[in-house]
């Protein structure tokens, strides 16, 4: 109990630092580029446009028979919405974990000179990425309006998978940032993992392309996808936003379960490693 109290007191004392670091990151990011906030909306839009042209027109991924049906309109959703929603969630994950991974090393000059609870650094990066993700929601809103897509009351719960992913990112970020202090080459390794996870998340393809196929890979693909934590956050987000339906039980279990596991593991590893950071940074 006294231990928890100590942690709370520490957090309370440093919460302004946390706020300041986040606002510093935002200021630095948006001051550097002339387009500022506009860029963080434009960037996902342009990315989506490229993917749309390639995967819809070239590969026909967006054909009606590949898509699930929206519960309200009875029509398959617009492929642009499908793409952008998946991309938005995946970017939040990849940006948050990538930035968090470098956060402790990047704060070496601070860590060497003043006492600061170390978890502040990965936490700050995850918050910063969350803010960025909220900005790029504007892009999603624009496409919603542009394509006159159907919305329902379930849309109001869009933040639930995002908050759960926030917790998952924090756990993963704690693990990655601690490991990177001791092994700098984890960074390169993680780049490969991110690419693999990107392909194992149905962002520009739909799960249904594996249905009814008898090939070895096609048979096991749905199972493999379900082992990927990001899959669950993307599918819950889409269920609410794109398909106007309540999340399924397995989506709840997938999202909450991964978030819980990552956070508990992350805290345990980080706590064990943090006192030795200063000897390696």
């Amino acid at each position: 109990m006294a231990y928890l109290k100590g942690i709370w007191a520490g957090f309370n004392r440093y919460r302004y630092l946390l706020l300041n670091l986040v606002s510093r990151d935002i200021k630095v990011k948006y001051r550097r580029s002339a387009l500022g906030v506009v860029w963080s909306v434009l960037n996902p839009l342009l990315m989506m446009l490229v993917q749309y042209l390639v995967f819809n027109n070239l590969f026909g991924m967006g054909n009606a028979e590949n898509m699930q049906i929206n519960a309200i309109s009875g029509q398959p959703p617009n492929f642009a919405i499908y793409l952008l929603s998946g991309q938005l969630i995946f970017s939040f994950f990849s940006e948050a974990t990538n930035l968090a991974m470098d956060s402790v090393l990047g704060s070496a000059s601070l860590i060497k000179k003043v006492y600061i609870p170390k978890y502040i650094f990965p936490l700050e990066k995850v918050i910063f990425s969350f803010v960025n993700a909220l900005f790029s929601l504007i892009a999603l809103i624009i496409v919603f309006i542009f394509t006159k897509s159907t919305v329902s009351a379930w849309l109001a719960l869009f933040w639930v998978p995002m908050v759960l992913l926030f917790i998952f990112n924090l756990g993963a970020g704690l693990i990655l940032s601690a490991l990177t202090v001791f092994f700098r080459d984890i960074k390169h390794f993680y780049g490969v993992v991110l690419t693999a996870l990107n392909f194992l998340t149905p962002i520009f393809y739909t799960e249904s392309i594996f249905m009814g196929k008898s090939g070895f890979i096609e048979q096991y693909m749905p199972l493999v996808l379900r082992m990927n934590p990001v899959y669950w956050y993307v599918s819950m987000f889409r269920r609410l936003v794109v398909y106007s339906m309540p999340p399924t039980l397995s989506q709840w279990i997938g999202c909450i379960g991964w978030a819980f596991v990552a956070l508990v593991l992350g805290l345990a590893i980080f706590k064990k490693a943090q006192d030795r950071f200063i000897l390696y940074v």
Partner: protein, 251 residues
Amino acid sequence: MAQPIVQIDGVSMRFNIAKEKVDSFKEWFIRKAKGQLRFEEFFAVKDVSLTIEAGDVYGLVGLNGSGKSTLLKIVAGVLKPTTGKCTVRGTVAPLIELGAGFDAELTGRENVYLNGTVLGMNPKYIDQHYQDIVEFAELGEFMDVAVKNYSSGMVARLAFAVATITKPDVLICDEILSVGDFLFQQKCEVRMRELMSGGTTVLIVSHDIEQIERLCNKAAWMRRGKIVIDGSCEEVCEAYKTGAQEMRERE
């Protein structure tokens, strides 16, 4: 009698100094497989016990590499000792290196707030003292300029002004008075005396023995991570001045 404000109990700090630094997984794995993962152990601070009472101005003297900065970092909570325990009853303001936590891309004003919160201050508190900070640093017209365009002395001024705006229970100074021009140095010493008269306990490391003699009431001499002698300031400084030379010659 009240409990001492800083209590250092049998503190040792061990560093692993590898001949080549192993910081990649690939290298670690190769060495582990070959059984070459050996470190040389080295004690920067060894079995040090000191008691510092509230209101003391405590000087630490010793030759380069004797472990003074390491000990101060342990008191500041930056380093966790390998063995032993260090208890501090109160808030600590560490002046270990000025300008730690400044972001060159941000303006002076933004850095005051960033650095203040790094030291655990409340933004409201910084608001109230903002004018004092600017006046002390004498940087009035530069506060909205990015810090990357400051001279190093200007950075030091601003950092010292921010760090000493609070009334900490313990102030830790590691050779910080050696930066800045002589007028600024005098100003810093005045500010430190103000803090001391306000009841702040001070721990100073300096190679300027006269400065230690001028400011401190107690002192300790460190040599190779151990305390040679501690006690009243005159005694320790006297012993250090004569003793260090002798020990060097004997070797």
